[in-house]
């Protein structure tokens, strides 16, 4: 048997999950209380898993680096969560959500996992409503929906522009109920620094108490990693400052294969960079593309005048504007998938049509939507012959109701009023589709070690559709893992508590402590951020929105170089036995410096363009799709799963061939 057994159940795709659930081993309720599970990370995936596993009766130990589970970065998700409820009656179905997700992912995801995701999606909405999540409703009291990029139906549920927050607070409340009952032992301000394996199985972790600096041993019968993505490898991203890949990378080094690292999503609608001091980038929800129209000046001289501040966007006549997404993709227009929208923005800006001083921004304009909504409102309110001002006033009120918090956020950052002048946006690193390789059970290549949510690779292929991250995190945590993990733990009912005073724990703890001591005593000359920023620049310039062989080879060499300098020159002030944010960052950046090189290597090997991975060597040369990304299904319809062998350059590639039995592989066209 190959090491990469995806363990997808037999049978028709519609029945796989049901049949699987009917046949797996179960742990009886009396035995569950003798089984411990560690969950690292408490965002939507980890939080929902921890709560559900505790409800089932397992003893859960949960870990978060923040001071509360409620602060995990899922909280920042704005736009919404997809579910195939078909409440709108617009032809949605489980199959259509499945199809859209596979197509949107450019046919690089595992069919059976995606179908299961679509299948449980509507349970998620029911569950969240039962928890008291205040989703938006219409006047009849029923749930409202909006639409997102890459699809032709309205299936996105939302809570203002704070859907992630509300869903996470739902999980958090479910966790709190279990914490109060003693079924979840919550470790806030703790960071997992390595996994402990005993007889080949994951049996515990080594964690650092971020307040006291104490190194702690925690054991369990299974370990679940739910620590999110690795977008901060770019230094600048829409991730939180603390978002990191350390847990995922540490398990990779202990035997978990890392899949498709080059599949990274560059989100099209973020607030552009303003200077070198920039610490992070802020996303403006994709939901804005429902109503906003994206454009740049049609003439170069106008673009130049705008860049130099001589011309205002509102002064430009309609015919002098290039609504390039509507022009290039008439069927989907401003709602093309994220990868397509991002590349199109880069293409215009590279050609000189950018609209801010750096030349790296395009407009997202709400004037048409304000006018449209204003006219509808005037009609509803019975105002005949409304003035232009009245229409604008009424329209702005509707736009405020829909996106008020986003507009406020934009105004605070940029100091411009987006109701009156178009927003400026530019693509930024947002989400990582790649991650730890898992089988159908969400288990990694290490027995007893699971990986869920953004941290794994399975559901989004080469590009994730909007509002699908929240869906996947909650599907994994509420409805998938609680079943699959039981099948594994059924063999552990007689194991008893795993002791932590063993040589396996001794060894890993020593590795962890040695590394911390190294950082504290290194006495280098440069800060951690200095190296992180350099890594980020290489990643953005050479492994960013558009990649080629030469650049990727250079990137690998440069990242290796930065890594070597880092270990010689990094400086970490303070001591190990106290709260020390610089020490925390040093460990995380050390891991990014390895991950970044594997990322570039993966991008180099994948000589095709698909989803978020665009190779300049692989584009359509003629026909209707001229200039668009060219996928190569004959040679690259596989998942690259990398095995750690020391240096990232020496990682060994394993392939999981992707089979498409229920969807025909097609050129992805949004024209």
């Amino acid at each position: 048997m190959s090491v990469l057994d995806s363990k997808v159940p037999e049978g028709p795709i519609k029945d796989k999950w049901t049949n699987y659930k009917d046949k797996i081993n179960l742990v009886n309720p009396a035995n569950k209380r003798h089984i411990d599970i560690i969950v690292v990370g408490t965002g939507l995936a980890g939080g929902s898993a921890a709560a559900t596993l505790a409800e089932l009766g397992y003893n859960v130990k949960a870990f978060a680096y923040q001071d509360s589970p409620r602060r995990a970065h899922s909280i920042a998700a704005q736009g919404g969560i997809n579910a195939a409820k078909n409440y709108m009656g617009d032809g949605d179905s489980t199959y259509r959500l499945f199809y859209d997700t596979v197509k949107g992912g450019d046919y690089r995801s595992r069919e059976a996992n995606v179908y299961r995701l679509a299948e449980v999606s509507s349970n998620i909405i029911d569950q969240c409503v039962a928890q008291g999540v205040p989703f938006a409703r219409d006047y009849g009291g029923l749930l409202d929906n909006r639409s997102f990029g890459g699809v032709l139906v309205s299936r996105t549920f939302y809570a203002k522009g704070q859907t992630g927050q509300q869903l996470l607070l739902g999980c958090y409340s479910a966790m709190n109920r279990q914490i109060a009952r003693g079924k979840i032992e919550m470790h806030n301000r703790h960071e997992m620094l390595d996994v402990v394996k005993i007889d080949g199985k994951a049996r515990g972790i080594i964690a650092r108490n971020l307040i006291t600096g104490e190194i702690e041993r925690h054991s369990a019968h299974a370990v679940v990693i739910a620590t999110g993505g690795y977008g901060n490898v770019y230094f600048l991203s829409t991730n939180a400052m603390g978002s990191n890949a350390t847990a995922a990378w540490k398990i990779h080094k202990k035997g978990a294969f890392f899949a498709n690292p080059c599949f990274t999503q560059i989100h099209p609608t973020c607030i552009p960079r303003s200077g070198d001091y920039q610490s992070k980038l802020t996303l403006m929800s994709e939901s804005l593309r429902n109503d906003g129209r994206i454009w740049v000046p049609a003439k170069l001289e106008d673009a130049k005048a705008i860049q130099e501040g001589r011309l205002k966007p509102t002064e430009l006549a309609e015919e002098d504007r290039d609504y390039y997404l509507e022009r290039r993709y008439p069927a989907f227009g401003n709602l093309v998938p994220r990868d397509v929208a991002s590349r199109a923005a880069k293409e215009r800006c590279d050609a000189g049509y950018g609209v801010n001083a750096t030349g790296e921004a395009v407009y997202l304009d709400f004037a048409a939507a304000i006018e449209r909504y204003g006219k509808v409102q005037a009609k509803i309110q019975g105002i005949s012959n409304p003035s232009k001002e009245k229409i604008t006033e009424l329209g702005e009120a509707i736009v405020e109701e829909k996106y008020g918090n986003l507009f406020q956020m934009y105004e605070k950052i940029v100091d411009e009023n987006p109701y009156k002048t178009p927003m400026m946006i530019y693509p930024a690193t947002h989400y990582t589709m790649g991650g730890v390789w898992v089988d159908y059970n969400l288990m990694t290549t290490v027995p007893g070690l699971y990986c869920i949510g953004e941290a794994n690779f399975s559901d989004h292929g080469a590009n994730r559709l909007g509002a699908s991250a929240l869906m996947q995190g909650l599907a994994d945590g509420y409805f998938v893992l609680p079943y699959t993990i039981g099948d594994y733990l059924a063999d552990d009912i007689r194991t008893g508590v795993i002791p932590t005073d063993t040589k396996e724990f001794d060894e890993v703890e020593k590795e962890v402590k040695d590394k911390i001591d190294f950082f504290i005593n290194n006495n280098g000359t440069k800060s951690v951020d200095y190296f992180h920023k350099r890594l980020g620049k290489v990643m953005w310039d050479k492994v960013g929105m558009s990649r080629n062989e030469k650049g990727l080879k250079e990137a690998m060499a440069e990242i290796k170089q930065i890594r070597e300098e880092f270990w010689k020159e990094v400086k970490v002030p303070g001591s190990a036995n106290e709260m020390n944010p610089e020490l925390e960052k040093a460990g995380r950046v050390a891991d990014f410096l390895e991950l970044g090189e594997l990322f570039a290597k993966d991008a180099l090997v994948r000589e095709e363009s698909c989803g978020g991975h665009f190779r300049e060597e692989s584009v359509e040369l003629d026909g209707e799709q001229k200039g668009e990304a060219k996928r190569n299904d004959k040679d690259f319809a596989f998942v690259s799963a990398w095995e750690y062998k020391g240096e990232p350059a020496d990682a060994v590639l394993h392939k999981e061939q992707l089979e498409f039995k229920d969807i025909e592989l097609k050129q992805r066209s949004y024209k």
Partner: protein, 249 residues
């Protein structure tokens, strides 16, 4: 712009702590306040000093991790924002800025500007939830229509990010805006009715136990709340508490 910063430095919970002066120069008005703090910390690391510890994470105003009392105001001199959304254009060249941690008995200082807000966690654990297990068999989400007004109001209450600015701004260090917001979210929704009595009683009892003060209707919390949580939520909590006191079970 060039600025003088007066910052609270405290080694650990047992240390007495003191204000220390720092200078930063060439600060751009487009920087966020925390990016200015990054500049200071980079400067301190490079000169071999220990950087200032402060809580922060999402840097887009939603995680509730960042705190800071800036010139005597929670989240600084702007409205409807968290510290990470405060921009340096609110200050001018030559300003002296005072930066302190949240000050409240229930929020002890861990280090420098970092405080321990676990009291909020325990209040939520006392009843900030609806007791429903994950099953996949809950009723269809549309089976209970909820008036748009109630849903919107519940959402407004649920927007609380648990940052603690309300406590830090209150002369009594009261947590009533925080607790009132959670009680209100569930009180406004049909799903929250079953446990309404126990919820409000238990959460309020835990709040008192943690050492938060009482509300004397000054309204500073409402002014400083980055998410616009209104005093109405405190009133609703008091009504719920009164109602609960009349119910036997």
């Amino acid at each position: 712009m060039n600025l003088t910063l007066k910052i609270w430095r405290q080694k650990g919970p047992q240390d007495k702590g003191k204000m220390v002066d720092y200078k930063v120069s060439d600060i751009s008005e487009h920087m966020s306040f925390l990016e200015m703090m990054d500049v200071l910390n980079e400067q301190l690391v490079n000169s071999g000093e220990e950087p200032v510890a402060f809580d922060h994470d999402c840097r887009e105003g939603i995680c509730g991790m960042c705190s800071l009392h800036i010139n005597g105001e929670a989240h600084g001199p702007d409205r409807g924002i968290t510290t990470c959304q405060l921009h340096m254009r609110m200050f001018k060249d030559g300003d002296t800025i005072t930066i302190e941690p949240w000050r409240a008995k229930a929020f002890p200082v861990i280090k420098d500007l970092v405080v321990d807000r676990s009291a909020f966690e325990r209040i939520q654990q006392a009843g900030g939830y609806i007791s429903v297990n994950t099953s996949g068999n809950t009723q269809d989400a549309n089976s209970i229509p909820i008036s748009k007004h109630a849903a919107d109001e519940a959402m407004d209450a649920a927007a609380c990010i648990g940052c603690g600015a309300c406590v830090a701004s209150c002369k009594n260090s009261s947590a009533m805006l925080f607790v009132g917001a959670k009680v209100s979210q569930f009180a406004l929704l049909p799903q929250g009715q079953v446990e309404a009595t126990d919820r409000v009683k238990n959460m309020v009892a835990q709040m008192d136990l943690e050492g938060f003060g009482n509300c004397t209707n000054t309204g500073a919390c409402e002014v400083e709340c980055p998410k616009g949580i209104t005093l109405e939520n405190i009133a609703r909590m008091n009504r719920e508490l009164f109602k609960a006191s009349l119910i036997k079970f």
